[in-house]
Structures are given as structure tokens and as C-alpha cells.
């Protein structure tokens, strides 16, 4: 039992660390690599939970996560970075240090919110949930502090990893594999959308400040 705990927490910790480190990266390629590591660990965590809970569904979730999120999506993202020549650092809306301090504060909030309200839940779920909420909030923060469309997608992907982390920690929850597939469809549309529609052509540099055009015209 104690091995179940410590391994699950170790993997949750690595995922949280990856999500946090993404805040400190200016280059898209580095963010993609961190995302890939995050997804790999998530797949391992899903397998481990499947083994601990004796749930075939979780093995399936782990397999999907490994094949699509840890392999296919990073490959697609790297392809976009290469093809649109976006190897340079991307613009940030906040100074790096400020973003990281905010990130720390969010992790603190997540822990302070989740741990007291889950007193009655079993402790594996408790701490997993706190980590998952931190990852979700960090993903949201990443979407806010990056001006680049692709960086926003990576933030979204990271947030979604947090959601799956929460789902695999729920005791005996139905539909976990289905949830991860449904989320994946959403992600695939995002990535393929950027790739095929070449938002670049319309937004020039994939910089979403072009959205302000709508604001100027007074909605």
C-alpha cells in the first residue's frame, strides 16, 4: 500500500514540476519537450493506478495518453514550430519572475483549498486532487501569460493533463477512458486547426494580439 502511495505521489510531483517549469520557458520547443515529459509521466501514472485499482479502463487511458499525447501531439507541435519557423522566444504578457511567483501562489491556493475540504476522502485521492488542481491552474496561468497562439495551446494541453490526472485518481469512476478521448478530440481540433487553417496567414505571426481587431470595431 505504501508503495502505491509514494509512487503515485512521485509521478504527480513530476507532472506538477513539468507544468511549473513551462512557465519559465520562453522557447516553444522547450515547452513542447516539457509537455511531452509531462504526458509520459501521466501515462505511467495511469498504468500504475490501473494496477493499484485493478481497473482495465485505466490501462486504456494510459495507452491512449502514451500513444497520442506523449507521441503524436508533440510530434505535430514540433512540426508546426519547424514549418512556421517559430524557434525564437515568444512574447510574454508578464515578466517571467512574476509569472512564476503567481504560479507558486496558485499551487498554494490549490493545496489550501483541496486538503481541508477532502478530509473524509481516502488520502490517495486527496493529495492527487491537490496536485491535479495545481496543474489545471498552472495551465490556465500559462494561457494567460503567453501571447502566442501555440503557447496558449500548450497551456491548454497542460491543463488537460491535470484533468486526466484527477480523473485517474478518482476511485472507480466510470467513463475515465471516454473522458480522455473526448478531451483529446478537443485538443486535436485545436492543433489541427492551427496547422491546417494556418492562422499564421491571418494573424501574421501567430500572435493573437490580432484579436483586438474585434475590440476596435466595437464588437
Amino acid at each position: 500500500m505504501s508503495l502505491t502511495f509514494s509512487l503515485a505521489h512521485l509521478m504527480g510531483g513530476i507532472i506538477l514540476l513539468c507544468a511549473f517549469l513551462q512557465l519559465s520557458q520562453r522557447r516553444l520547443a522547450a515547452m513542447v519537450t516539457l509537455y511531452q515529459l509531462e504526458a509520459l509521466v501521466l501515462a505511467a501514472a495511469a498504468f500504475w493506478q490501473g494496477y493499484a485499482q485493478h481497473e482495465i479502463n485505466l490501462y486504456l487511458t494510459g495507452l491512449i495518453t502514451f500513444a497520442l499525447k506523449a507521441m503524436l501531439l508533440p510530434w505535430g507541435l514540433r512540426e508546426i514550430v519547424q514549418r512556421f519557423n517559430m524557434v525564437r522566444a515568444v512574447e510574454t504578457a508578464l515578466p517571467m519572475a512574476a509569472a512564476m511567483i503567481l504560479g507558486l501562489a496558485l499551487i498554494g491556493i490549490a493545496v489550501l483549498v483541496v486538503l481541508p475540504v477532502t478530509m473524509h476522502a481516502i488520502s490517495l485521492t486527496r493529495e492527487d486532487l491537490a496536485i491535479a488542481l495545481s496543474v489545471v491552474l498552472l495551465g490556465l496561468l500559462l494561457m494567460i501569460v503567453r501571447r502566442n497562439a501555440l503557447a496558449q495551446i500548450i497551456g491548454f494541453l497542460s491543463m488537460e493533463n491535470g484533468l486526466v490526472l484527477a480523473a485517474i485518481g478518482m476511485p472507480g469512476m466510470p467513463f475515465v477512458a471516454e473522458f480522455s478521448v473526448a478531451l483529446l478530440v478537443l485538443l486535436a481540433f485545436l492543433v489541427v486547426g492551427v496547422f491546417l487553417l494556418r492562422i499564421r496567414e491571418h494573424f501574421d505571426t501567430l500572435d493573437i494580439s490580432g484579436l483586438e481587431d474585434i475590440e476596435r470595431r466595437g464588437r
Binding site: A167, M170, L211, I214
Partner: protein, 479 residues
């Protein structure tokens, strides 16, 4: 027989066929035929509501019929729209358009009929993806911007809602244990008192902000006016009402779990503040809108806010008022957009730019019938009698005075400001001197708009007994 599952399956089946074959016009006609069958099926749900994962309660069945009706009328008007606009997109994209039309309907019905919080979430997710693709269909720069905004905001909302859904499941563990029971609305509301109250509060916050994004409650409304203004109008405007209803009903159902739990926080203040914020933001945003679809988009935000406010007041009568308001407003707004689509096409091809108020001025010269119908719909939107919305707003206000008197002042002020801002537009729209033009025929399908208007009037002032019975039973169960 499980008609609910059939009614959900039909649109997805039709979507796969419509997406593969047919010219735009054939697609539009087939689409209308599928919608007609769907309307019959949604009516049949009352007699075969199903069991298990897809089990429609009377409230879901009622809103299902509403969705079916709106899908049917929109698909009829859509035939004219496609014929006039066929050259705008290649055939393949028209096929995609008709498939999306069906998918949005199917997702709305799934969200209404599902007795499972996971399926509800999946329905909202599917609806979001389909709507985003719809908004981006014209591939214009502004359309892509609007779609991107929708995708990012909607995606974040969907993510938060999933987290909330999982927390509700966890909160139900002490009462219902692992498995499907802890995700069923019926089981959850029967055992709400034994759920983990603190966790439920946390879950509701995520649900409120997640589904609140889809219901376009301020401050999560940013996507709606843009999404309305871009893309093919029948899909992005007329069909968005049912999706908003799914989100509002979800919020109402989760709110009930909190009310029935002795430990959880009271949800009223959250809903009241979001509702009032929506009302006032809309009131102050009306004045500078030049595009009619954006203008009425803000009106949808306002009406969504009024319903959320009613749910926040609480008690069976206020919730009755909120539900009636949702029914009437959805009918009225889709009728209004159908009239608006026709009005815009009277002034040339229905390209996105042609919905500006300056372009629509002096409609009376183009066609009297369409102009008066549109004016009637806009007037009804203000909630002044004899509009049907007057009844539901009256119920909500009188309940507010009874239960939470201090809140009635801002509510009344907001409603008044909105009504004035909307009324200001009717005069120029009808009577402004326009360039000399030949009157054009009203086109087919305008009787449908009249039907919408008459229905709104009748449902409000001569509400049929069974409807009152159904709504009050539902409101009592969800108070």
C-alpha cells in the same frame, strides 16, 4: 420504447449522411426532413422517456421539444438561406455545415436527456466543437478570430466543468459509492443530503464557471457576440439558444444539490451576482453596437442573466419564472433571428457585413411583412406587455420583492435600461428614409416567425394546464 435515445441518435446519423453527399440545396431539404422527424421524436419522448444513462425527466423532455421545434423552423428558413447563398462556399463545406447543424441539435438533446453528469459534459463538449467549426466556416479573418476566441474560452469552460463533474462524483462517494449511481442526476438529488457538503461547494464553483461560460454569464460571456456575428447565421444564431438552455439547466440541477445539502454553501449569492452583472453589462453594451447580430447577442447574455438571477432567488415560484423565461426567450430569439436573416437577404446577399443596423434601416420599404414581424420580435424582447416575456419577468420580480427585496431595485433598473436600449432601435429600423427600392417578396417561411411570436404570446398569457403542471412540478423538485 426509448424514444429519447432515438431522438439523440437520429441527428448524429443524419449528420454522417449529410456530411457525405448532396448539393447544397439537396442538403438543405434533407436537413429539413430530418428535423421534421426529429420534432416528432422529441414529442414522443413524453411517452417513452427511457431508462439508465439516457432517461429524460419531464423538464428535459419539454426543453427537448423546444429544441426540436426550433431546429425544425430554422431548417425550413435555412432552405431559402442556402439557395440565396450557395455560391459563398464550396459544396463540401455546405455538407459540413448541414452535418454541424444536426450535430448541434443532437448534442443539445443529449445534454437535455442524459441522466448522467458525464454524458452531460460530453454533450456540452461536442456542442462546443461543432459550434466552433460552424463559426469558422466562412474562413474569413474575423470568422477565424471569433472561432479561436470561442475555442479557447469554451475549451477552458469545458475543462473547468469536467473538474467540477469529477468533484461532484467524489462528493457523492459517502452516499452512493463507486460506479454509475454517483453520476446520475436522479440518484444524486435523492441523496444530496448525505453528500460531502464542503466538496460539493468546491465542485459547484467549478461547474458554475464551467457551464457559466457556455451559458454566457458575465464575466464569461466574451465569445458570444463574436460567435453570433460570424459564420452562417441559421446555425450560429438560431441554434445557439438550445445549447445555452442545456448549460442553464445543468447549473439549475447542480444548484439543487447544494440547496438540498445542509453543509454546503448557499448558491444564491453567486447566481444573483452573475445574473445582475450580465443584465447590467448588456444594458450598457447595447448602445454602441452597430451589427444587429452582435446587438441581439448581448440581448441573449441579458436573458441568460435574468434566468440565472431567478435561480439565485430560489423557491419554487422564482424557479418556475426562470424556466418559463427560458422557454419563451428561446422561442422568441430564434424567431427574431429567422426574421433578421430574411431581412438581411432582402438587402442583397447575406454576407456577414450586411447585418449592420445602418444597412438594414428603413426596412418598411423593402417588405412590410418582414419589417413588422422583425419589429414585433424586437418589441417582445423588451418584456413590455403584451410580450410573453412580461409574464415571466413579472413572476421573477414579484418573487424577488417577496424573498429578497433589496435585489428588486437593481433588477428593475437593469430591465428598464435594457428595454429602453432595445426600443431605441425599432424606429430607425422601420421608418428611416432609405434609398428608393422596389418592394421585394417576403419569401417562404415567414409564417414560421409569426408562429414563434404567437406561441410566445399564447404560452405566456394562456399557458396550457399541462405546461403549468409540468413546470411547477419541476420547479418544486429543483427548488
Amino acid at each position: 420504447m426509448n424514444f429519447a435515445a432515438l431522438a439523440i441518435a437520429l441527428p448524429f446519423l443524419a449528420a454522417s449522411l449529410l456530411g457525405l453527399a448532396g448539393t447544397p440545396r439537396q442538403g438543405a431539404v434533407a436537413n429539413a426532413a430530418a428535423c421534421a422527424v426529429l420534432l416528432v421524436l422529441t414529442l414522443a419522448v413524453f411517452w417513452g422517456h427511457g431508462a439508465g444513462l439516457v432517461a429524460a425527466d419531464p423538464l428535459g423532455a419539454l426543453f427537448g421539444v423546444l429544441t426540436g421545434f426550433i431546429g425544425f423552423t430554422a431548417s425550413l428558413v435555412n432552405i431559402g438561406y442556402v439557395s440565396a447563398d450557395a455560391a459563398r462556399m464550396p459544396t463540401q463545406r455546405w455538407r459540413l455545415y448541414h452535418a454541424l447543424f444536426q450535430i448541434v441539435l443532437g448534442a443539445s438533446l443529449l445534454g437535455l436527456y442524459a441522466d448522467n453528469i458525464g454524458l452531460l459534459w460530453a454533450a456540452m463538449e461536442g456542442g462546443t466543437i461543432a459550434m466552433t467549426l460552424g463559426v469558422s466556416l466562412y474562413r474569413t479573418k474575423r470568422g477565424l478570430e471569433a472561432a479561436w476566441k470561442y475555442f479557447i474560452l469554451g475549451g477552458v469552460g469545458i475543462g473547468l466543468a469536467l473538474f467540477g463533474t469529477m468533484l461532484v462524483y467524489l462528493a457523492a462517494q459517502p452516499a452512493l459509492g463507486a460506479g454509475f449511481a454517483a453520476m446520475s442526476f436522479a440518484a444524486l438529488s435523492a441523496h444530496a443530503a448525505q453528500m460531502d457538503g464542503a466538496l460539493l461547494t468546491l465542485a459547484f464553483l467549478f461547474i458554475l464557471f464551467g457551464y457559466g461560460t457556455k451559458a454566457a454569464l458575465v464575466p464569461l460571456h466574451g465569445w458570444l457576440p463574436d460567435a453570433y456575428a460570424e459564420g452562417p447565421a441559421p446555425l450560429t444564431t438560431a441554434l445557439s439558444g438550445p445549447l445555452i438552455n442545456v448549460a442553464l439547466l445543468a447549473i439549475l440541477r447542480f444548484r439543487h444539490l447544494l440547496e438540498a445539502n445542509p453543509v454546503a454553501m448557499r448558491p444564491g449569492p453567486f447566481l444573483l451576482s452573475l445574473g445582475l452583472a450580465s443584465l447590467f453589462l448588456a444594458a450598457f453594451s447595447f448602445s454602441r453596437r452597430r451589427d444587429a447580430r452582435r446587438f441581439f447577442g448581448f440581448s441573449s447574455i441579458e436573458q441568460s442573466g435574468i434566468s440565472a438571477f431567478a435561480f439565485g432567488i430560489g423557491g419554487p415560484a422564482a424557479i418556475f419564472g426562470g424556466l418559463l423565461h427560458m422557454v419563451l426567450h428561446t422561442l422568441l430569439k430564434s424567431g427574431l433571428f429567422l426574421a433578421l436573416i430574411r431581412a438581411a437577404s432582402l438587402r442583397g446577399p447575406a454576407s456577414p457585413g450586411n447585418y449592420t443596423f445602418s444597412h438594414l434601416r428603413g426596412l418598411l420599404r423593402a417588405n412590410k411583412y418582414v419589417a413588422w414581424l422583425l419589429a414585433g420580435c424586437i418589441f417582445a424582447l423588451t418584456g413590455l406587455p403584451p410580450s410573453g416575456l412580461f409574464v415571466s419577468e413579472f413572476i421573477i420580480i414579484s418573487q424577488t420583492i417577496q424573498r429578497n427585496p433589496y435585489m428588486s431595485l437593481p433588477l428593475g433598473l437593469g430591465l428598464l435600461l435594457c428595454a429602453v436600449a432595445i426600443l431605441r432601435n425599432i424606429g430607425p429600423l422601420l421608418f428611416a428614409p432609405a434609398a428608393h427600392e422596389k418592394p421585394k417578396p417576403a419569401g417562404r417561411g415567414m409564417w414560421l416567425v409569426a408562429a414563434h411570436l404567437v406561441l410566445v404570446f399564447l404560452l405566456a398569457f394562456a399557458t396550457p394546464g399541462p405546461l403549468v403542471h409540468l413546470l411547477s412540478r419541476a420547479a418544486e423538485a429543483l427548488q
